[in-house]
C-alpha cells in the first residue's frame, strides 16, 4: 500500500468501521451504507478531489447484501486512487446521496436508480436518466432478462412479423 494512503485508510477504519482489502495492487474499502456521505466528505478533505466513477454490482440471487455500490475516488494532488464499496440489501435498497460532496454524483446516482433501482435519500432530482420515464423494471439487475429479436428469413418473415409488438395495433 502506498505510504500516503496508509494513514487515510487507518482513519477511515477507526471513524467509520470500514474494512480494507487489497486486490491486484488496488486498495478497496467496505464502508457501511449510512456512513458513506460522511466518509466521502472526510476523503474530500484529505485530497480526494475527484469522484472518477460510481457504479453498482448486482449479486442476485444473494440478498444480503444484494448490491455493492462502488465509488472510485482519485486524488490529483497525491496521485492516489481509492475504491469504496457499500453493501446494500436487496429489499428496499437505499443509501444516502453523496451529491452534496461530489456534485457529479447527481447524474451517476440517477443512473444507478434507473439501472438498478437503488434509491438515494436526499437526492434532489431522482428521475430516470437513460431509460424512458415510463419504463418498467431496472435493466442492469441480474434478474432482468436480456431481450432478443427473432431472426426473420424469407420463409417465416410474415409469421414472425405478426408476433412483433407493433403488429397488435
Amino acid at each position: 500500500m502506498d505510504k500516503k494512503l496508509e494513514p487515510i485508510v487507518e482513519k477511515l477504519k477507526q471513524d467509520f468501521g470500514a474494512t480494507a482489502s487489497k486486490d491486484r495492487g488496488d486498495v478497496s474499502l467496505v464502508v457501511p451504507a449510512e456512513k458513506i456521505a460522511e466518509a466521502c466528505r472526510q476523503l474530500q478533505g484529505q485530497g480526494f478531489e475527484l469522484l472518477s466513477a460510481m457504479t453498482a454490482v448486482d449479486y442476485w440471487p444473494q440478498e444480503t447484501p444484494r448490491f455493492h455500490v462502488v465509488y472510485e475516488l482519485t486524488s490529483l494532488s497525491n496521485h492516489l486512487t481509492l475504491e469504496l464499496r457499500v453493501p446494500v440489501p436487496g429489499v428496499n435498497p437505499s443509501l444516502p446521496t453523496v451529491s452534496a460532496v461530489y456534485r457529479n454524483a447527481n447524474w451517476r446516482e440517477r443512473e444507478l436508480w434507473d439501472m438498478f433501482g437503488i434509491k438515494f435519500s436526499g437526492h434532489s432530482d431522482l428521475r430516470r436518466i437513460l431509460m424512458p420515464a415510463d419504463w418498467e423494471g431496472h435493466p442492469l439487475r441480474k434478474d432482468y432478462p436480456l431481450g432478443y429479436e427473432e431472426p426473420q428469413f424469407t420463409f417465416n418473415y410474415k409469421e414472425i412479423n405478426l408476433r412483433k409488438p407493433y403488429a397488435k395495433e
Binding site: D23, R24, D26, S28, E49, L50, L51, S52, A53, T55, V57, D58, V70, E72, L76, H79, T81, E83, Y102, R103, N104, N106, W107, M115, S124, D125, R127, R128, I129, L130, M131, P132, A133, D134, P139, L140, L146, P165, Y166, K168, E169
Partner: protein, 409 residues
C-alpha cells in the same frame, strides 16, 4: 403498445425557477434533432428573452444497453461493443477495455504492441480533435474549417483501414496485444501524416486563432473555474483549460507513455477560447508522440504468447495440435478470468475513460461499467451556460465536445 407518457411541467417544477411557473420566462426545447447539439441531445431551456436562466439536459436517446450486452458475451467478443461507445475514439475505448482485461488476468503485452497502441491511440486523438474543431467551428459559421478538418481526417482513417480493415470500428487492440502486425505500408503512411500535418495545424490557427469574429464568439464565454470543474468530475481538455494540469498519460502512465517527451498544455482562463487553444496544442503534442514512437518502433511479436488467454496465430494452428485446442477453446467458451474487480482508466480525447470490470471466475464479465468522460462533462454544462445568450450556448456545446454514444452507452 403502452401509451407514451407525457412529462408535465409539474414533474420538472423543482428544476426551473419560480418565474417559469408564473409564466414570466419561457421554456423552450432545443433538440433532440437540433444540428448544433452534435447528436441526439435534448436541452430544455428556460429563457428570459435571449438569456438562459436554466439549462436542463435530457440524455438517453442513444441508449443501447452496452453494459448489459457485454455481460452476456465472452471477454473477447464483448470488446467489439466498446468501439461503438465513443465512436470518435475507437482505439482508446479498445485500449481501456484491454488494459482492464490484462490487469484482471495478469497478461503481459510485448513492446512492439505497446508502441503501435500508442501510435494509433494518438492518431485517434488527433482525428477526434479534428472532428471537434471542424464541427465546433461550423457551429460558429466557420464553414471552411469543417471541410479542411474532414479532408485531413481521411488520411488518419486510411491508416486505420490499412491496419485493421475498418475505418472506424477497428477492434484492432486486443487483450494481450494486437489483432495482427501492421502492414509494410504503415510506416510510410504515418510518416506522410507527420510530414504534412504540422503545416495543416498552422493553417487552422491562421484561420481561427486571431480571427476577430471567432474571438468575439469565444473569449470569456462559458467560464468554468477549476474548483467547479473538479467537483463536477470534469476531466480532459476541459479541466486543463480551467488550469488544472491532469493528464492520465503523464500522471498515471499506461502503455509506456512515460517514455515519451511531451507537454500537457493548460490554460488558466476556463472559457471556450482556452479550450480551443488547449486542444490545438494537444494536436501538436499528438504528432510529437507519434513521431517518437515511430522512431523507436521495435521488432518482435505483437501478441502475448500466453495461449490460455490469447488466441494462437493462424500459422500455428496447421502444425500444432496444442494451438488448435487453444484456438478452439478460446473461440467457443472463452477463457476464465480469476475472481475480482479492476478499474483502469485511460486519457481519451474527452477526458478520463475508465472501465470497471468485475469477474466471478467465469468466461463472461460479471459486470462492466464504462466511466465515460462526456457524461460528467455534459453535467457541468448547465453551470457554464447560466446567464449567457442562446447564441453562446451553441459555442459552449461545441467546446464541451460531447459524443452522445459516449454519454448514453
Amino acid at each position: 403498445m403502452p401509451d407514451i407518457q407525457e412529462i408535465s411541467v409539474d414533474q420538472l417544477k423543482h428544476l426551473v425557477s419560480d418565474r417559469a411557473l408564473k409564466g414570466e420566462t419561457m421554456l423552450l426545447n432545443m433538440g433532440p434533432q437540433h444540428p448544433s447539439t452534435h447528436g441526439v441531445l435534448r436541452l430544455l431551456l428556460e429563457l428570459d428573452g435571449e438569456i438562459i436562466i436554466n439549462c436542463i439536459p435530457d440524455v438517453g436517446f442513444l441508449h443501447t444497453g452496452v453494459e448489459k450486452n457485454m455481460e452476456a458475451k465472452t471477454y473477447q467478443k464483448a470488446e467489439v461493443m466498446s468501439d461503438r461507445l465513443d465512436y470518435m475514439n475507437p482505439v482508446g475505448n479498445n485500449l481501456a477495455y484491454c488494459l482492464a482485461v490484462e490487469k484482471l488476468v495478469g497478461l503481459d503485452v510485448p513492446e512492439r504492441a505497446q508502441v503501435i497502441r500508442v501510435i494509433l491511440a494518438e492518431l485517434t486523438r488527433f482525428q477526434s480533435h479534428l472532428v471537434w474543431l471542424g464541427t465546433a467551428a461550423l457551429d460558429l459559421a466557420a464553414m471552411s474549417m469543417f471541410l479542411y478538418c474532414f479532408r485531413e481526417r481521411e488520411y488518419i482513417l486510411d491508416v486505420m483501414e490499412i491496419c485493421s480493415g475498418q475505418r472506424m470500428m477497428t477492434t484492432y487492440v486486443r487483450p494481450g496485444g494486437l489483432w495482427r502486425d501492421v502492414p509494410v505500408e504503415f510506416e510510410a503512411a504515418v510518416r506522410e501524416i507527420l510530414r504534412t500535418f504540422p503545416r495543416r495545424v498552422d493553417e487552422y490557427e491562421a484561420l481561427l486563432t486571431r480571427n476577430p469574429l471567432f474571438l468575439d464568439r469565444t473569449l470569456g464565454i462559458g467560464k468554468l473555474s477549476a474548483e467547479d470543474a473538479l467537483n463536477l468530475g470534469v476531466t480532459g481538455p476541459l479541466l486543463r483549460a480551467s488550469g488544472v494540469k491532469w493528464d492520465l498519460r503523464k500522471d498515471r502512465p499506461y502503455s509506456g507513455y512515460e517514455q515519451y517527451d511531451f507537454v500537457v498544455p493548460t490554460r488558466p482562463e476556463g472559457d471556450v477560447y482556452a479550450r480551443y487553444l488547449v486542444r490545438i496544442e494537444e494536436m501538436r503534442q499528438c504528432l510529437r508522440i507519434v513521431e517518437q514512437a515511430l522512431n523507436k518502433l521495435p521488432y518482435g511479436p505483437v501478441r502475448s504468447n500466453n495461449y490460455k488467454f490469447v488466441p494462437p496465430p493462424r500459422s500455428e494452428i496447421g502444425v500444432s495440435m496444442e494451438a488448435l485446442i487453444h484456438h478452439f477453446k478460446q473461440w467457443t467458451e472463452g477463457f476464465n478470468a480469476p475472481q475480482g474487480s479492476v478499474y483502469r482508466a485511460v486519457e481519451s480525447p474527452r477526458g478520463e475513460l475508465g472501465v470497471y470490470l468485475e469477474s466471478d471466475g467465469g468466461p463472461k464479465p460479471y459486470r462492466v461499467h464504462w466511466r465515460t468522460p462526456s457524461f460528467d462533462n455534459l453535467q457541468a454544462m448547465p453551470l457554464m451556460c447560466k446567464g449567457v445568450l442562446v447564441a453562446d450556448l451553441i459555442a459552449i456545446i461545441g467546446s464541451v465536445d460531447i459524443v452522445l454514444g459516449d454519454i448514453d452507452r
